[in-house]
């Protein structure tokens, strides 16, 4: 694990939580979704908070896929679970939601979980084959070779 890889894991957690908080803030402008107003949901994508949220979640997806390209799923998921902690703290700060005692306890549990996995190996040896995109030329020559 290099410093750059830890940065990418941090980016996964930060982009995920900030993106979700932005979406939640944007949906407050909309109000509750009901059977009467659901079709107006399409207009909400123009809300600046929702737009920012979608942008941040795209960045999250990019960094998440990058992390999965060099680390195990069972490493990436717990290691980036700090996003739940960040989300609770951001929701308390920006959306003025109440951070209760049980939430603090949850923050402690998640942190212990993250700490225990992040100190271990990021990837275990795998028996899965390496996947290479097939380009048309090699496919033709391969099939021609097998015919002969």
């Amino acid at each position: 694990m290099t410093f750059r890889k830890y940065l990418i894991l941090a980016a996964v957690a930060v982009f995920a939580s900030c993106g979700d908080v932005c979406l939640a803030r944007g949906m407050r402008d909309f109000g509750a979704v009901t059977a009467a107003n659901w079709h107006q949901l399409f207009g909400i994508v123009l809300n600046p908070w929702v737009l920012t949220g979608i942008g941040l979640l795209l960045l999250f997806f990019g960094s998440y896929l990058t992390a999965l390209s060099w680390a195990d799923l069972t490493f990436v998921l717990p290691a980036t679970a700090l996003s739940y902690v960040l989300m609770a703290l951001l929701a308390g700060l920006l959306l003025h939601e109440n951070v209760t005692f049980s939430r603090w306890l949850g923050i402690a549990l998640v942190t212990v979980g993250v700490g225990s996995v992040a100190s271990g190996p990021a990837v275990t040896p795998t028996t899965l084959p390496k996947w290479e995109p097939r380009d048309p030329e090699t496919r033709i020559s391969k099939s021609a070779g097998s015919d002969a």
Binding site: S69, L73, T74, Y84, M87, G106, I107, P125, L128, W131
Partner: protein, 126 residues
């Protein structure tokens, strides 16, 4: 909505979300280190390899199914129940599925991490 229907909804979310995660992890494992590909062949090659990977595309499909099941289940029950129940169960299901289908070595440390995070997520939602 009955309790059975709500739990069936949560089960649908957990199963589709886990399937999506495992397929996507498998895609990225096969494609290999994106940092190395970017250095040697550039960022467009990354986009090409990811977007034509069948595992990645089927992963996206299951993620969309998971999102749809979440929306439907949220219309039956509060987000404070559905959210943490599905998120924490997905953590545990992912540990099982990664062991079975991705052949990852899920040791004590990783099981503990999954359980702690799953428990923490439930508490965070209160």
């Amino acid at each position: 909505m009955t309790g059975t229907a709500i739990w069936a909804g949560v089960a649908a979310i957990v199963i589709t979300a886990t399937t999506g995660d495992v397929l996507q992890a498998r895609a990225m494992k096969e494609i290999g280190d994106l940092g190395a590909i970017r250095k040697s062949q550039g960022i467009l090659e990354i986009a090409r390899r990811v977007l034509i990977n069948p595992w990645f595309l089927s992963g996206l499909f299951f993620m969309a199914l998971a999102f749809f099941s979440l929306l439907v289940t949220l219309s039956w029950e509060d987000v404070s129940i559905v959210g943490p129940a599905s998120a924490s169960l997905t953590f545990i299901a992912n540990a099982l599925a990664a062991r079975l289908f991705l052949k990852e070595r899920v040791d004590h440390r990783r099981w503990l991490a999954a359980l702690f995070v799953a428990g923490g997520v439930v508490l965070l939602a209160h």
